[in-house]
C-alpha cells in the first residue's frame, strides 16, 4: 500500500466524504449491512487505519468528526457492544502483525459485525501468569493441531473467529514457546460450554479444543513470537476496557446522579459526601482518558492504558456499590437469576444488583488490578522486577 504525506486528511475532508457516502447510501432506504460495508469501503470505519482497510491514514482523533456526522444523519452503527473483542483486541493485532492477505480477509467483516470474534487466551491453570498456558499446537503439514482448554471466553457462543495463544514449543522458557493463531470457532473439535457467573447469566464460556486443525496461513506473527503479539492485544484490551470516550456523567456515575436527582427521599449526608467524591473521581477519570486520547491522537497505546483500566474498575465497583446502598429496601431485590446467554457485553445494563455484581469482574478481566499495578511499577516507573524463579526454565520443567 502506498500513501503520500501530501494527502493528510483533515476534518473538512472527512465531513465531505461522509456527505458523499450519505448521498450514495441513504440510511433511510439502504439496509444496515450494505451501509456499513459502504462506510468501511469509504475509509470511514476507523479513519486512522490504512486506506483500503476501512481507514484513510488520518489522525485517530478525527474519528469523532465522522461519528458525530453519521450519528446526526441517523446512520446505523456497527453495534460495538456486540463486537468489542474484535474491534478492541483482534483488529489492532491483525493490523500490526497480520499479513496483507489476513488483513484483507478479516478486517472488513470484523468491523461490520458480520463476523464476531472472541479471545482464547486464559486457561484454568494460566490466569495472571498467562505465559504459562498449556494449550498445545503441534505442526502437521501445512496446519497445526490444537488441543487444550480455554476459559473466561466472552462471546465464544456467538463468535466465528478467535484469537488464540497456544504452546508450540514446550522445551524453551515459557515466554519463548508461544505462537499466536486465528482459530475458526466453527471448526471440528471446538466445543463451547456456558460458564455461569455470579450475575446468573453466562456471558463467559469454557472452550474445549480437541485436535482442532488450524491452517498455518492463520498464524499471526512468527512461530515462537506469540507473547510479543499477545502483548499488543493485551495493551489494546486495557485501553478498550478503560479508555472509552464519555461525556461528563457518562457511564455508571450518570445513573447514580440521575437517581440522586430524581429520588430526594433516598438522600442522606453520608451518601451525599460519597456521591460527590465519586462524581469528582469520575470526572477526573474522564479528563484523564481524554488527555490520554489527545496524547495518542495517532499511535499505539503504551502501558499508560493500564492506568485507565485500573481507575475504571475501582470507580465502577465503588459507584455500583453506592447505588445498591442508596436504594435501601429496593437494593435488596435482584431482577432475574435466570441463566441467560447475552449477545452483548454491557457493564451498565439491567438493574443495580447486576451492575454491582458485574463490576466485580472489571478488576479481574483483561489483567487483574494487581497485575496492572506491577506493569505500571516496572514498565512506567522503572522499579526493579521481583526476583523470579521461572524465567529461564523450560516450560515443560515448571511445577504445575
Amino acid at each position: 500500500m502506498t500513501t503520500t504525506a501530501a494527502t493528510a486528511v483533515d476534518a473538512d475532508e472527512l465531513r465531505g466524504r461522509v456527505s458523499a457516502l450519505l448521498a450514495e447510501y441513504d440510511p433511510a432506504t439502504v439496509d444496515r449491512l450494505t451501509f456499513l460495508r459502504a462506510r468501511f469501503d469509504a475509509g470511514l470505519a476507523w479513519v486512522h487505519y490504512p486506506r483500503g482497510l476501512g481507514g484513510l491514514d488520518a489522525p485517530r482523533a478525527l474519528q469523532s468528526v465522522v461519528d458525530a456526522a453519521l450519528e446526526a444523519a441517523g446512520a446505523p452503527d456497527n453495534d460495538p457492544r456486540r463486537i468489542g473483542i474484535g474491534l478492541g483486541m483482534a483488529a489492532p493485532t491483525l493490523l500490526r502483525f497480520g499479513t496483507e492477505r489476513q488483513r484483507r480477509r478479516f478486517l472488513r467483516p470484523l468491523w461490520t459485525g458480520e463476523e464476531v470474534w472472541c479471545q482464547l487466551f486464559s486457561e484454568p491453570g494460566a490466569g495472571s501468569d498467562l505465559a504459562s498456558l498449556g494449550t498445545r499446537a503441534v505442526r502437521d503439514g501445512d496446519a497445526w493441531v490444537v488441543t487444550g482448554q480455554k476459559v473466561w471466553t466472552s462471546s465464544a457462543h456467538t463468535a466465528r473467529w478467535a484469537i488464540l495463544l497456544a504452546r508450540t514449543d514446550p522445551e524453551v522458557p515459557k515466554h519463548q514457546g508461544l505462537t499466536y493463531f486465528v482459530c475458526d470457532m466453527h471448526a471440528p473439535g471446538v466445543e463451547v460450554r456456558p460458564l455461569r457467573q455470579i450475575t446468573g447469566e453466562a456471558e463467559f464460556n469454557e472452550v474445549f479444543l480437541n485436535e482442532v486443525r488450524v491452517p498455518d496461513e492463520h498464524r499471526l506473527g512468527e512461530v515462537g513470537d506469540g507473547w510479543r503479539v499477545a502483548r499488543t492485544t493485551l495493551m489494546n484490551e486495557r485501553v478498550a476496557i478503560g479508555g472509552q470516550a464519555l461525556p461528563r456523567e457518562g457511564g455508571m456515575i450518570g445513573i447514580v446522579a440521575e437517581l440522586w436527582r430524581g429520588r430526594p427521599e433516598l438522600r442522606t449526608p453520608a451518601l451525599h459526601d460519597r456521591l460527590l467524591r465519586l462524581w469528582v473521581d469520575a470526572e477526573v477519570a474522564r479528563l484523564t482518558g481524554e488527555r490520554l486520547r489527545q496524547q495518542l491522537a495517532t499511535g499505539a497505546p503504551g502501558p499508560e492504558g493500564s492506568g485507565m483500566k485500573l481507575a475504571f474498575a475501582r470507580l465502577a465497583q465503588e459507584i455500583s456499590g453506592l447505588e445498591v446502598e442508596m436504594l435501601g429496601e429496593e437494593g435488596l431485590r435482584y431482577d432475574d437469576w435466570t441463566l441467560r446467554r447475552p449477545q452483548t457485553v454491557d457493564f451498565t445494563g439491567r438493574g443495580p444488583g447486576y451492575r454491582y455484581l458485574r463490576a466485580k469482574g472489571n478488576s479481574i478481566e483483561g489483567g487483574t488490578s494487581e497485575i496492572l499495578r506491577n506493569i505500571i511499577a516496572e514498565r512506567v516507573l522503572g522499579l526493579p522486577a521481583e526476583p523470579r524463579t521461572d524465567k529461564d526454565v523450560a516450560w515443560k520443567d515448571l511445577p504445575r
Binding site: S64, P247, R248, E249, G250, G251, G254, I255, A257, E258, W260, R261, R267, P269, H272, D273, L275, L276, R277, W279, V280, D281, E283, V284, A285, L287, T288, E290, R291, Q294, Q295, E304, G307, L310, A311, T348, E370, L372, R373, N374, I376, A377, E378, V380, L381, G382, L383, P384, A385, E386, P387
Partner: protein, 379 residues
C-alpha cells in the same frame, strides 16, 4: 444515559502542553534547578528568611513570569492561565519560596478587575513591585465578601486580616474592605503609617503567613461596589484553579523522589522497590499524579478560555489535586522510613506545603460542596 440539564458537556478542551508552554517550563525549570535546590530552601527557612527575593527578581524580571497574566497594553505578556499553570507546576516541584501565586496570579487578577489600577498593574507586570490580596490564605472562591476591614468615606482603613500568605514580601496590599457605599478594593503601600504586622509561626515554612492590622491607614480606592466583588471572586477562582498545578508539581516531585529512593535502597538483600507491596502503592500514586495532571490542565484551560464551566473545572481540580499532593507527600515520608522523619531531608518542606495547600483557597470538602450546587446534586 442523558446528562442532566445542569451539566454542560465539554469536548473542546486542550489538556496537553503547547510548545510555548513547554519552552516556558524548561526556562523556569533550569533556573530553579540552578538557584533553588531543596537544600537551599531548607537553609533559608532555618535562617528565617524564607522568601528568596533574588530568585524572584530573576523569575519575575528576567523570565518575565510576573507579567504573564497582564495584557500587553498594561505592560505584560498577554499569556493565560495555561502558561501560569506550567510555572506553578515547576514552582511546586521546588517548593520555591517566591510570591508567584499570591502576587502574579491572585493579586494581579484582582487588580485586572479594577478599572483604576493601571499603574499598580504595570509595576507588578514589570517585576518592579510585588503585591498581595489581603484575605486569609484559606479563603475559598464564592466566600462572602470579607468584613474584617472597614473603610470610612475618605478611604481610611481600620481592621484586621489574619493568615495572609506571602504578605511579608509585598510592596503593595490589595485590601478588600467595606465602606459606607459597600464593598470595595483599596491599595495600601506596605510602608503606610498605621499598618501593623504580626508574624505567626506557619505550618508551611515556604509560604509564611502574616496577620495584618489597619489602624486608620490611608488607602487609594481601586474598585467600588459594582467591581470589587467580581474582581475578588475571579481572583479567588483563579488562585484556587491554578493552585491545582502547584499541587501537581508537589505530587510529581514526591513520586519521583520516592521512586528514586526505592530503587537505590536495599534491605533483605534486594532493592526495596522490588517488593510488590511497595510497587503497588507507587503505582496508585502514579495513577493519581496522571489524573491530577488532567484535572489541573482542565482547570487552567477553562480559566484561560473564560469558559462558563470554569467554576466546575476549578472545584473538580481542587477537590481532586489537594488530597493527591498530601497523599504523595505522606507516602514519600513513609516509604523513606526513618530518613523521612529527619529535618535534614527536604521532603518535610513538601509535606508542609502540600498540607497547607489543602486548606488554601478552600478545603476539598468546601469545593465538593460548591460542586453540589454547580452540577445539580443537592444535599
Amino acid at each position: 444515559m442523558t446528562p442532566a440539564r445542569t451539566v454542560v458537556p465539554r469536548t473542546d478542551q486542550d489538556l496537553l502542553y503547547s510548545e510555548v508552554e513547554q519552552d516556558l517550563r524548561s526556562s523556569v525549570h533550569d533556573l530553579l534547578a540552578d538557584r533553588c535546590p531543596p537544600a537551599a530552601v531548607l537553609a533559608r527557612c532555618e535562617d528565617r528568611t524564607p522568601h528568596d527575593l533574588a530568585l524572584w527578581r530573576a523569575l519575575s524580571r528576567d523570565l518575565g513570569v510576573a507579567g504573564l497574566l497582564v495584557p500587553p497594553a498594561h505592560g505584560g505578556h498577554g499569556a493565560t492561565a495555561r502558561e501560569a499553570a506550567v510555572v506553578l507546576e515547576e514552582l511546586g516541584a521546588s517548593v520555591a519560596p517566591v510570591p508567584f501565586l499570591t502576587s502574579a496570579v491572585v493579586a494581579t487578577t484582582a487588580l485586572l478587575g479594577c478599572s483604576g489600577a493601571a499603574d499598580e498593574i504595570a509595576r507588578l507586570a514589570s517585576g518592579a513591585a510585588t503585591a498581595v490580596l489581603t484575605v486569609p490564605l484559606s479563603t475559598a472562591p464564592g466566600s462572602a465578601f470579607p468584613q474584617g476591614v472597614r473603610a470610612d468615606a475618605a478611604g481610611v482603613l481600620t481592621g484586621r486580616v489574619t493568615s495572609v500568605g506571602d504578605a511579608g514580601c509585598a510592596d503593595l496590599l490589595v485590601v478588600p474592605a467595606t465602606g459606607p457605599r459597600g464593598p470595595g478594593l483599596y491599595a495600601v503601600h506596605a510602608g503606610a503609617r498605621g499598618l501593623g504586622a504580626d508574624l505567626p509561626v506557619s505550618l508551611d515554612l515556604t509560604r509564611p503567613l502574616v496577620d495584618i492590622h489597619f489602624d486608620r491607614v490611608a488607602a487609594r480606592p481601586l474598585a467600588g461596589p459594582g467591581a470589587a466583588e467580581p474582581a475578588l471572586a475571579t481572583a479567588l477562582l483563579t488562585g484556587a484553579g491554578l493552585l491545582a498545578s502547584e499541587q501537581l508539581g508537589i505530587a510529581q516531585w514526591c513520586l519521583d523522589t520516592t521512586v528514586r529512593h526505592l530503587g537505590e535502597r536495599s534491605q533483605f538483600g534486594r532493592p526495596v522497590g522490588s517488593f510488590q507491596a511497595l510497587k503497588h502503592r507507587l503505582a496508585d500514586r502514579w495513577l493519581e499524579v496522571v489524573s491530577a495532571r488532567a484535572a489541573a490542565r482542565s482547570a487552567a484551560d477553562a480559566l484561560a478560555s473564560g469558559s462558563t464551566d470554569a467554576p466546575v473545572a476549578v472545584a473538580v481540580a481542587q477537590a481532586y489535586c489537594a488530597p493527591v499532593a498530601v497523599r504523595a507527600a505522606e507516602e514519600c515520608l513513609q516509604l523513606h522510613g526513618g530518613i523521612g522523619m529527619t529535618w535534614e531531608h527536604p521532603l518535610h518542606l513538601f509535606l508542609k506545603r502540600a498540607k497547607a495547600d489543602e486548606v488554601a483557597f478552600g478545603t476539598p470538602g468546601r469545593h465538593r460542596a460548591a460542586l453540589a450546587g454547580l452540577v445539580g446534586l443537592p444535599a
